[in-house]
């Protein structure tokens, strides 16, 4: 059960931790702040849009719940990929890495569908209202993270395909996994705040402030 670093090129570091792993965690900690700012901005401008469409008009909660499941499944596939790498199960490495990448790609497909529906079909663009600006900025940054993760996973899959992944290079898989799970937890937060809690947000019209048509509560 010798670890990569201890077996091959043990490093003496002041923290006793591997540099790359430490760096990854510091990066993830700081990335929290990026998303923290974006999420807080969404919450600050929540319910402040003065033109539609509003979240209640266009958010499709069932579809997004499915894409949330897809991302959760990909996280499970990712831990299996790492476990296979540690066991030097070459076939397992390839299968689970590919599964993770494909599930990530599926999640992106859902997001493309969502962005297309919101913008072209429903008329919500990034400049339409505060909801559009904050929503597309927040989910767009998350989508960019997922995209980078998929590219990373596919690269790893290619390396695995050449048979170059194994217990001695397990850290390569582990770091990609940390990044991938981070993307997953960010989505857990976004899904909760934007879709579950804010999914029924309506504009001034539905709030009854305006003498105008009242939108239905649920997007159909």
């Amino acid at each position: 059960m010798a670890h990569a670093e201890t077996a091959h090129h043990a490093e003496a570091t002041t923290t006793g931790l591997n540099h790359r792993k430490l760096l990854m965690w510091i990066f993830l900690g700081s990335d929290c702040m990026l998303f923290g700012a974006l999420i807080a901005t969404y919450m600050v401008y929540r319910g402040q849009s003065i033109v539609g469409p509003y979240p209640v008009d266009i958010l499709n909660i069932p579809v997004t719940t499915i894409s949330t499941f897809v991302l959760l499944c990909s996280s499970f596939a990712m831990v299996q990929a790492l476990a296979a790498t540690n066991r030097n199960n070459q076939r397992g490495i390839k299968i689970w890495l590919l599964a993770t990448a494909l599930l990530g790609f599926t999640f992106l497909g859902f997001q493309v569908y969502e962005f297309y529906t919101f913008s072209v079909v429903e008329g919500l663009f990034i400049g339409t209202n505060l909801f559009g600006s904050t929503f597309f900025t927040l989910t767009g940054f998350h989508g960019a993270h997922v995209t980078l993760g998929v590219v990373w996973l596919v690269s790893l899959f290619i390396v695995a395909f050449k048979g170059r992944l194994g217990p001695s290079t397990a850290l390569d898989v582990e770091l990609a996994g940390l990044y991938w799970h981070f993307v997953d937890i960010v989505w857990i937060v976004i899904f909760t705040l934007v879709y579950l809690i804010g999914g029924y947000d309506a504009g001034p019209v539905a709030a009854g402030v305006l003498t105008g048509p009242i939108p239905s509560v649920l997007p159909v």
Binding site: G29, C32, Q48, I61, L196, G203, P204, V205
Partner: protein, 240 residues
């Protein structure tokens, strides 16, 4: 060469543990979905607290098991939680700075004064179908709804006891956010409008389970003009 490394390798979770973790994550997501779909079964602050709590559990499970912080060097946990805490602090500061720490999404003054109707915004170019229930509403209807809302939040004093999301926050009587839907009718075969009329004219005819009888004033209708009463009913019917 540290003991931390050796331990980390020995103490990765097993396959079955990962499966259990995944199932817990799925289950929590299903519960969350059930709470808010097809309508919010809980509202207001409890909804926020419960959903944030559930997602915090998911968050913790992922970082401690999938990202195996539980089995890794303690320093990594502190580094990550440090960043997370800073993010929280910045977020809370922003929210309080902009006065957004409320449980309901109410537009602030500026938004209220500069509002633009949603449907007319899209009706002309035909980019989208009008939403059901909001379609061909005449100016008279809109006026009536506004009058009904004024009665609800004013003369009728309904708002003091009944909550309608985005309108009022009363908690004495049943919430009326979706009173116009079929689901809200507790008498078989009764239309939504007839049910609402009956409940105002004779509050004792049906008392919502979980609420004491005799609290809702029975003479409400006599305090309103016929016009005001009709407007109030129309406003409530529109609460889909």
């Amino acid at each position: 060469m540290t003991t931390g490394h050796a331990q980390e390798q020995v103490r990765h979770p097993t396959f079955m543990q990962y499966v259990v973790v995944a199932l817990i994550l799925f289950l929590i997501t299903i519960v969350e979905f059930y709470i808010i779909f097809p309508h919010q079964r809980i509202t207001g602050l409890p909804l926020v607290v419960i959903l944030v709590g559930l997602s915090a559990i998911k968050f913790a499970i992922v970082i401690f098991f999938y990202m195996h912080l539980k089995f890794d060097a303690r320093l990594l946990t502190w580094i990550f939680l440090g960043g997370l805490a800073l993010a929280f602090a910045v977020g809370l500061a922003l929210l309080s700075l902009f006065g957004a720490l409320r449980t309901e999404a109410q537009p602030r003054g500026f938004a209220r004064e500069h509002r633009v109707p949603y449907v007319s915004d899209h009706g002309e170019d035909g980019a989208m179908e009008p939403k059901p229930g909001s379609g061909s509403m005449t100016g008279g209807d809109a006026e009536k709804l506004a009058q009904g809302k004024a009665v609800f939040t004013g003369k009728g004093t309904c708002f003091a006891c009944h909550k309608i999301q985005g309108v009022s926050a009363g908690a004495v009587g049943p919430e009326l956010t979706h009173i116009g839907t079929e689901r809200a009718v507790h008498k078989a075969g009764m239309s939504s409008e007839a049910y609402i009329r009956e409940s105002i004219e004779d509050p004792g005819a049906f008392v919502h389970p979980g609420f004491p009888p005799g609290v809702m004033p029975a003479n409400l209708k006599t305090t309103l003009t016929a016009d005001e009463f009709e407007a109030l009913v129309a406003f409530l019917v529109a609460q889909k």
